[in-house]
Amino acid sequence: MMKRWQAVKRLFPFVGLVLLLSACGREDLSALRPQGPVAQGQFDLMKLSIAIMIVVLLIVFGIAGYVWMRFRRRPGQTDIPEQVEGNFKLEVIWTVIPLILVIILGVATVQKVFAHGENYWNDKNAVKVKVTSHQFWWEFNYPDYGVTTAQDLIIPTGKKIAFQLKTADVLHSFWVPSLAGKTDTNPEGAINNAWFTADKEGVYLGKCAELCGQSHGLMEFKVKAVSQESFDSWVKAMKEPVALPEDQATAEVFKNQCLTCHAIGSEGGPSAPNLTGIGGRESVASILINGQDGTAKENLKTWLEDPQAVKPGNTMPNPKEDLKLTDEQIDAIADYLANSKLKTD
């Protein structure tokens, strides 16, 4: 009985550790709180390796603590300690044991490498998304649906999402910690594949994880996992025509100054984030978070008044200085965009 208690007691640190780890960070952001099979597999590996490593640490700390206390030089001690050359048996032991630990971790690792490295691009059941990274925004294209969006990646829950990733400029890295680890986005010619699945509905935070210039730290995106029905209706809504501003003058300005780069509905260009339904998105510029009501317009104005102040180094021209928009025009466009929401049922 006593013996067993001892053994159980030894498990405490691990139990504590697992509890501690799984309480760490936000559910929609932390790699320690996985919300899908890929992140879960990665978390399992982490737990395995941490457990092995803790054992190693305990042994080393234990021996070190013991020798430091036990073998201090006492005052007046003048004898010479025995000059031990080594000990073949001991040395073999501490070669073999780490080797065994490494093999355990190695086997688990190799299994996951191949499981996670699977390519589902040609899987008929998977939802395909082409991700293109830009300084400092994300473009998501759904080739099967003919839909392109930016910053908010909408996915159905429970489905495999298969990605093809590339960059339009410098290297970036596509990372949604609570759904899967990161994958670099390389230039054309070295396109990467990845996949993940979100088990539950919710909004997960994604980040760019490769230094890509000034606003690297602000290059976020959201993954919005919704039910299959909502996803379908979102796709449908994205393809509905979008009306330009009613006020003719504003529509003119918007068309000439904004749609040269941005697209909205079927109009405009692809070199800047697609604005279709932006009034209903999670954020403006991925970091100005839209609240329930009204803040979208405020955020749009903040952005339009000085994009550099929000995301230093981004490539959008300054609406006031470069595009010569007046405050009224900015306000009108912000108002129009804030009300541009998708009509989903």
């Binding site: 960070g25 952001l29 932390s30 790699a31 992140a39 590996l45 390796s49 092995i52 490593m53 190693v56 080393v60 021996i63 070190a64 020798v67 430091w68 073998f71 201090r72 030089r73 001690q77 010479i80 300690p81 025995e82 000059q83 080594g86 000990n87 001991l90 040395e91 501490w94 070669t95 490494v102 971790l105 190695g106 690792t109 190799v110 490498v113 191949f114 490295g117 410098v170 290297l171 910690p177 609570s178 680890g181 994958t183 670099d184 390389n186 054309e188 010619g189 990467n192 980040k207 760019c208 994880a209 230094l211 890509c212 210039g213 000034q214 690297h216 730290g217 602000l218 230093p312 180094g313």
Partner: protein, 602 residues
């Protein structure tokens, strides 16, 4: 003037120490500025651009200009003494190596005042580091400055290889060499094989930037991932260039202060060589997320994990050196003792990172920042402090103040763990590295605050060390030959600081831990291997300094497309080379009568 022309390895060691300390200080200030920016969310203490320059320069400075010269400082100060040599194999080259290193470092750092420091990270990944996306001269300073500094390192490495192979005292077989010399030897060998890779990489990158070549430009058929391979084929061995000397230092300090010979000497040597070898096999573990495919990822995962085995051997050998010893906790030994658990913590996170699928989560986050600081600071820097306290009396004839040494240690190590331990969690919780700020409410705030406080404490620790140096320097010199009383290797058999010629007579080595062996046999000195005679010394020379200055000028000219300046600089350098080659200089001799007094104490 004396210092500009010296070819004495001990003085060059001191020059390296001063230069290294200077750059370490600059890198440290940059680190504190980085940490200050991150003390709270959405801080605007520095701009995003400045922040990227700070991290780039901090990383580059620390690795290439901070700790490398400190390693060379100790190698210069100690290796010739440990092998019973009067100097290094090529004293002139030694001086040249130092000056090219220093001029390269200065070139890199004047970027701060010449229109923008490099800003693409110390890894300078293309295309971010290309002209198109980094259009100041910053990255040019990086490529040209590192090229020049790297030249110095390569020269130094070759010199130490030659020295250790050819200049060992009679009786000092390879398997009787002190561990620090062994690690200096292996480190030099790694330098010899790794530095050419970065040399080539930097040439390609500077051609892309300055001469509009397109090695890394996809639109012209280049390949940016190629840069990553070249960089890491150098970069990973570089990590072992840094850590092996620390292993060597620890292997000297622990036996001395445990009064026991190193446990498992031959397995230590074997482990060192194995680590060096594996170090070249694992570079792609920095690139798991690049998309190399599962087969490559699996192979690089496994080979990386294997490094844990020889490293583990070392750790246990140290612990069993202590076992049954009589441990004295001097400042030097405190640092060595702090090294063991700290380094092991860095080692185990390394094994965690080696697991490729899990690395998909760790990579480029604060978990990695924590890991490599545990290894570099918790391993190498603690090792360097240990070595500095240990060999300071040998270098300067004065023992550093023990009390201040211990105070500094406690500030440093507590600060260190506060700074970096919490960063593991930041990384796992989703904080990427190299971000100039973070949004509120992500759960990062408290841990970042803690981390910054820790960094400040570390700074205090370093200041205490500096204060200690100043206090000690103002005291009269007078350290005995063997101030720790339990010195085991040859450097402790001669005066502190050693005379210009090191050994009046080259000693005869009769076993491992040569000096300890003589002491145990009841002798107080080494048995000489040669009669007293006149000693041949190399002449001092200003040429290395001028030559390096020439390269510096040429480098600036190249960067700014001023080809007249470029040619002028090269002319200076080649003229020096010609002078060196055409005029024979046979050096000079110290006569036996002079050796009893002169140079022993200043």
């Amino acid at each position: 003037m004396d210092w500009l022309t010296t070819v004495d390895h001990k003085k060059i060691g001191i020059l390296y120490l001063i230069a290294g300390a200077l750059f370490f200080g600059i890198g440290g200030i940059e680190a504190l500025l980085i940490r200050w920016q991150l003390i709270k969310p959405m801080n605007d203490f520095v701009s995003a651009q400045t922040f990227n320059e700070l991290i780039t320069m901090h990383g580059t400075t620390m690795i290439f200009l901070g700790v490398m010269p400190l390693i060379f400082a100790l190698m210069n100060a100690v290796v010739p003494l440990q092998i019973g040599a009067r100097d290094v194999a090529f004293p002139f080259l030694n001086s040249l190596g130092f000056w090219t290193f220093l001029f390269g470092g200065v070139l890199l750092n004047i970027s701060w005042v010449m229109g923008g420091a490099p800003d693409a990270g110390w890894t300078a990944y293309t295309p971010l580091s290309s002209k198109l996306y980094s259009d100041t001269h910053g990255v040019d300073f990086y490529t040209v400055g590192l090229q020049i500094a790297g030249l110095g390192t390569l020269i130094g490495g070759i010199n130490f290889l030659a020295t250790i192979i050819t200049m060992r005292a009679p009786g000092m077989s390879f398997m009787r060499m002190p561990m620090f010399t062994w690690t200096a030897f292996i480190t030099s060998a790694i330098i010899l094989f790794a530095f050419p890779a970065i040399t080539v990489g930097l040439v390609l990158l500077s051609f892309d930037r300055i001469l509009d070549a397109n090695f890394f430009d996809v639109s012209e058929g280049g390949n940016p991932v190629l840069w990553q391979h070249i960089f890491w084929i150098f970069g990973h061995p570089e990590v072992y260039i840094l850590i092996l000397p620390a292993f060597g230092i620890i292997s000297e300090v622990i036996p001395t202060f445990a009064r026991k010979r190193l446990f498992g000497y031959s397995s230590m040597v074997f482990a060192t060589i194995l680590i060096a070898f594996l170090g070249f096999m694992v570079w792609a573990h920095h690139m798991f997320t690049t998309g190399m495919g599962p087969v490559a990822n699996a192979l690089f995962s496994i080979s990386t994990m294997l490094i844990a085995v020889p490293t583990g051997i070392k750790i246990f050998n140290w612990l069993f050196t202590l076992w049954g010893g009589q441990i004295r906790f001097t400042a030097a030994n405190l640092y060595a003792s702090g090294f063991i658990p700290t380094f092991v913590m860095g080692g185990v996170t390394g094994v965690m990172l080696a697991s490729a699928p899990a690395d998909y989560q760790f990579h480029d986050t604060y978990f990695v920042v924590a890991h490599f600081h545990y290894v570099i600071v918790g391993g190498l820097v603690l090792g360097l402090f240990s070595g500095l306290h240990y060999w300071w009396p040998k270098m300067f004839g004065r023992v550093l103040d023990e009390k201040l040494g211990k105070i500094g240690f406690w500030f440093f190590i507590i600060g260190f763990h506060l700074t970096f331990f919490v960063q593991h969690f930041l990384g796992l919780m989703g904080m990427q590295r190299r971000i100039f700020t973070y949004l509120r409410g992500q759960g990062f705030d408290t841990l970042n605050l803690v981390s910054t406080i820790g960094a400040l404490l570390m700074g205090v620790g370093v200041l205490v060390f500096l204060f200690n140096v100043i206090v000690t320097t103002r005291k009269p010199a007078g350290a005995p030959n063997d101030p720790w009383e339990d010195g085991r290797t040859l450097e402790w058999s001669i005066p502190s600081p050693p005379p210009e010629y090191n050994f009046k007579q080259i000693p005869l080595v009769r076993g491992l831990d040569a000096y300890w062996k003589e002491k145990m046999a009841g002798h107080t000195e080494m048995t000489p291997a040669e009669p007293v005679g006149s000693i041949h010394m190399p002449s001092a020379s200003i040429l290395p300094f001028v030559m390096s200055a020439g390269i510096f000028v040429a480098g600036l000219g190249f960067m700014y497309h001023q080809y007249v300046v470029l040619v002028l600089g090269l002319v200076i350098t080649f003229a020096c080379m010609a002078i060196r080659s055409l005029y024979d200089d046979h050096g000079w001799h110290i006569d036996p009568e002079e050796t009893t007094e002169k140079g022993v104490k200043e």
